[in-house]
Symmetry: C2
Subunit: 249 residues, 2 copies
């Protein structure tokens, strides 16, 4: 199996200050590498956030003995008619998952104060809300994961009428993240201006929250809340490097 | 136009000690990016040096105002029946291009003492033969170049019966290198075990030299001989970053 991952930016590479446009992560057989790469290129060239002028694609063989399986999170959707309701639901879901009110507010504030898309995630202490990683504006990118049973996944999402790229990718990512050592919960809304539904995820489930931001906003990102005593090197290494196949339960 | 470049390694990425398998450089229109990427992936998976398990592809828009044109070097082939004759011809061609005997011998010795393929080139002083770059076993990679008139190039090489991937790529690279500030000459033979013809190139021309190594040898590389007073930052920046289209003359 091969990890195929893409990151795209505008105004040069991410490392030299380019503006993040899109990213993608797959784990596929060698026969699917070319097709997967083509799909990623097309996406980078036609993203709602703009056309990329820098695209990096890495294809890397995965040692199948070292691949982990984690369960797919169960999906729930809460109701709400506006951003105020969305943010209230996000705070409530975070505290129910074990994040303190203070840390949850701090995470919301961190996402709301973004001035550009980060590409990766901010890691905050689930008790104090203090930022724990030192990756600045780039964030920690979660890499090397995919769904194990693609057909079953598509069927399940189709039944719930949520089979779109955003949900597919976020649910796989959130399932990997929720299984990280010391992870408490995740808060996310997209940087895609056409997609305003966010989510809170934890090992208890993936809660979809409509209206986490206004339509047209290019600002979104991810916050991971981790236990105060978590080994940060271990958490970041897992998020970045551990190959994970998400298992339908 | 887009620079599309690929590097492939075995045993992990180059940065973590992976063994270099292959590299490729093109400058193409956006319509050709997907096809070019596919060709590079196929090549990385089926190289005579082995199958890559790490492939990095970068697609980057080029500012056409900053693109330079350089002339295609004229091609000559010397005769010779064995490696001894090949090495003698290489030394002679280098000294005729302005490299001292001492520096030419030093460059030959550097290539002959390689224990793995470098991917990039070593930069030596054309007078003393001392290594001037500090890139160690990776070398300086020449990037962002292509032929301007692909059909004319194919026709010209076909007429000479040397229209193969090795010559195509080496001649474009050598034409860029020969136009670098402070460059005196280049010595190269391939790390492809099935290709033993090497070359010496300078602004005076590209001299093909049969039998620079034994058939089956995986060891080859590039040495660039530069003037003692060359500004090394400028030379390396040109080799790595200057976009160059090679013009048929």
């Amino acid at each position: 199996m091969y990890s195929v991952r893409m990151r795209a930016a505008q105004g040069g590479a991410h490392e030299v200050g380019g503006h993040h446009i899109s990213g993608a992560e797959r784990i596929v057989s060698q026969e699917m590498v070319v097709q997967t790469t083509n799909d990623m290129l097309k996406r980078a060239f036609s993203h709602t956030r703009g056309q990329a002028d820098f695209i990096n694609i890495v294809v890397e063989k995965i040692d199948e003995d070292k691949m982990e399986e984690v369960p797919l999170l169960s999906v729930h959707t809460v109701l709400g008619n506006d951003v105020t309701a969305g943010h209230r639901a996000a705070l409530k879901s975070l505290t129910q998952a074990g994040v303190t009110v203070r840390a949850a507010q701090s995470g919301m504030a961190a996402l709301l104060s973004l001035t550009d898309s980060m590409g990766g995630a901010m890691l905050l202490c689930a008790v104090t809300g203090r930022r724990l990683d030192d990756t600045g504006l780039r964030g920690v990118r979660v890499s090397r994961m995919d769904i194990g049973d693609e057909q079953g996944f598509t069927a399940m999402l189709g039944d719930k009428d949520i089979n779109n790229t955003h949900v597919r990718e976020a649910l796989v990512l959130a399932s990997k993240v929720a299984a990280a050592p010391g992870m408490v919960a995740e808060l996310c809304w997209s940087d895609d201006p056409e997609y305003t539904t966010g989510y809170v995820a934890s090992s208890a489930g993936y809660i979809r929250i409509p209206h986490c931001k206004s339509l047209g906003s290019l600002l979104g990102g991810r916050v991971f809340f981790v236990k105060p005593d978590a080994d940060m090197d271990m958490v970041e290494d897992y998020l970045r490097h551990q190959s994970v196949l998400v298992r339908m339960t």
